[in-house]
């Protein structure tokens, strides 16, 4: 028996492929939206993974440092390090800001860390780690900085000495790693007028500026202009220790908030990006419906264009299932062409997007199955129309 669908497709292959191509672009958008969602989730997780922290210790009663502001003393790590199961700690300070690069503002998240401690970039793709105490930086490649570039952060210039990859915030901003002390200064640095004003006020305060106590005024002024706070202490636990247990110990004995890495991930994915994820999810749902409606419309139109032929086919004895099979195969063919085009399109234009687009194989496989299911469902409308055709329509002109 002749494959009627294949013959029909071959008869108008240009139009058929063009239709599939158009559908493919829509599927490509759908795949890309899935990739944007996955990228957003991955962005939220990558920082947590890269820091190598098992427990995040933050200010009490806060969900810091990303979901809420968090500030704790930079010597809190000493007491945390004494807790059972803790092998290493690292102070970190995070702040999002615009830095100047060649006169161009670049939005980054500054990450202050202590080299060799939890919180440093997971790996470098070029250059070297930070070896000096001040004014060196490691940048994510997404910043488009190059080794040796000088970046202006507040009043100081930093030299980019290393590059890393996929170190972004859940908002997609690339990270710029600098020494912790510098980050603390950047975070709390006041402008010169404010510093002068503060010094004058202290000097005018007789309880601080005592003639009989030399050095007091300078000490207080120094305290006013320096920062001893960090946003979080990252903890690495010993092998065999449950991070959840260590986090509980921190909360109980140190009066700080502590999250295991899993909790922190849940916090970021479940709360911080949940609304954006829902938005994308709804958009995906709408796109799936629109794709289905378009496939249904295309299949229906293709069927309606063949009503006379279908009537003749039925009149000369073609089984209904042969006609239904023809329509179904054509719908599935459209789906396959559309999917292939969509996958290629999403793969090609994905990297152009400003945010990370993560196309997972399982999502691709799922999308393929959904596309075929949508095609099958959509073809039902065309099949119904075909089966309703009266074979007698071929008779009587």
């Amino acid at each position: 028996m002749i494959n009627l669908a294949a013959r029909d497709i071959a008869h108008g292959v240009g139009r058929y492929v063009a239709t599939g191509f158009g559908l493919g672009l829509l599927i490509g958008v759908t795949l890309t939206m899935t990739g944007v969602y996955r990228g957003m989730v991955d962005d939220a997780q990558v920082l947590l993974r890269a820091t190598g922290a098992d427990v995040w210790v933050v200010q009490q009663h806060t969900l810091g440092p990303f979901a809420e502001p968090s500030s704790l003393h930079d010597d809190a790590y000493r007491s945390i390090r004494g807790l059972p199961g803790v092998v290493d700690t690292g102070n970190v300070a995070y702040l999002t800001m615009q830095v100047s690069h060649g006169g161009r503002p670049v939005r980054v998240m500054i990450a202050g860390y202590e080299p060799g401690r939890p919180g440093e970039p997971g790996y470098l793709t070029a250059g070297r780690p930070i070896t000096r105490s001040h004014y060196e930086a490691i940048a994510d490649e997404q910043t488009e900085f190059a080794i040796g570039d000088r970046v202006r952060i507040r009043r100081n210039d930093y030299t980019v000495v290393g590059l890393t990859r996929r170190m972004v915030t859940f908002g997609g901003d690339p990270m710029l790693f600098i020494p912790l002390k510098d980050a603390q200064e950047v975070q709390f640095l006041k402008d010169n007028d404010a510093i002068r004003n503060e010094r004058d006020r202290l000097a005018a305060n007789p309880s601080v500026n005592r003639p009989g106590v030399p050095g007091l005024l300078e000490t207080v002024q120094d305290l006013q202009t320096s920062n001893r706070s960090v946003n979080a202490v990252l903890v690495r636990v010993a092998p065999g220790w449950d991070p959840q247990v260590v986090a509980e110990n921190v909360k109980r004995w140190k009066h700080l908030q502590a999250f295991s890495a899993a909790d922190m991930q849940e916090l970021l994915v479940g709360t911080v990006i949940s609304r954006a994820a829902k938005q994308i999810g709804l958009f995906l749902l709408i796109l799936a419906f629109v794709s289905g409606a378009i496939v249904a419309f295309i299949v229906y139109t293709m069927t309606m264009a063949k009503l006379k032929e279908i009537a003749v086919l039925k009149l000369i004895g073609t089984r209904n299932r042969t006609i239904a099979g023809m329509i179904l195969q054509e719908a599935l063919g459209l789906g396959v062409i559309g999917f292939v085009v969509g996958k290629i399109a999403a793969t090609l234009w994905g990297p152009v997007f400003p945010r990370y687009v993560l196309l997972l194989n399982e999502d691709t496989a799922r999308a393929f199955v959904i596309t075929l299911v949508v095609c099958v469902v959509a073809s039902v409308i065309g099949i119904r129309a075909a089966l309703r055709v009266d074979p007698g329509e071929a008779i009587g002109g």
């Binding site: 002749i2 008869h11 003749v312 009149l315 000369i316 089984r319 071929a394």
Partner: protein
């Protein structure tokens, strides 16, 4: 049967088609329309019979009833000595009846545009279960008989109107049906081509012993029939035709 003239060709075979008191009513109640009122018709193997009548007289309805496309309301239809309708269809699968025992020729060729000429003809034997090579061989045979075998691989859109009509005739013959129902087969053709089609139908009827009913309005071909059924208000009247030879 309302017979006003004798059959021009004495028949010894059993009728290929026998219609007795066939009625078809559309709708019910006061709006019901009787499209056929006790129509009668007998067609013998190898005979080409004209079915003529004004628009709305019931020609198409009779053709659809004979083609098992619509169900009559009452009467009897016997095909090749087998009773197929007697107040109800006697066959379970009307699709098979149409496929194997009735050939259709339409006003327009209505060829399947995505198949070439050979496959348009071969489709019927294939639907009947013949393997593709055998079906194509059969199609080639008929196309040869109709002088269009050389266009066998041409797409429908590449065929002329006359070639398309020949291919549609070949399709009607593909399963060697004892009956062909032709619905105004010459309507879109000029007089030369119309007479050619009629000549072909007459030749095929003789060669294949096929009974052919030709529904037509075409004044050019009506004189060629030896027997004609006039249909008016759903009733048939048989007349002898001129049986004029076709040059």
């Amino acid at each position: 049967m309302a017979s006003t003239a004798l059959a021009a060709v004495p028949q010894t075979d059993a009728p290929a088609i026998q219609v007795e008191d066939l009625s078809k009513r559309f709708g019910s109640g006061p709006t019901a329309v009787d499209a056929l009122r006790a129509a009668n018709m007998t067609v013998y193997p190898g005979e080409v019979v004209g079915l003529i009548g004004p628009s709305g007289s019931g020609k198409t309805t009779l053709l659809k009833c004979l083609g098992a496309v619509i169900e009559p309301t009452a009467g009897r239809i016997t095909l090749g000595g087998e009773l197929v309708y007697d107040g109800a269809w006697r066959m379970r699968d009307l699709r098979e009846l149409r496929r194997d025992r009735i050939g259709f020729i339409f006003q327009a060729p209505y060829l399947i545009p995505f198949l070439d000429a050979t496959d348009n003809v071969a489709l019927l034997p294939m639907l009947a279960g013949q393997p593709n090579p055998a079906a194509r061989a059969r199609a080639g045979e008929i196309l040869e008989a109709l002088d269009v075998a050389h266009r066998g691989h041409a797409r429908v859109s590449e065929l002329s109107g006359g070639e398309q009509q020949r291919v549609s005739i070949a399709r009607a013959l593909a399963n060697k049906p004892p009956i062909i129902l032709a619905d105004e087969p010459t309507a879109p053709l000029d007089s030369v081509r119309a007479l050619t089609v009629v000549r072909i139908l007459n030749r095929l009827a003789r060669e294949y012993r096929t009974a052919i009913i030709v529904v037509t309005h075409d004044e050019k071909i009506i004189p060629t029939f030896r027997r004609i059924y006039h249909i008016r208000d759903g009733r048939t009247v048989e007349e002898a035709g001129e049986g004029r030879p076709i040059e």
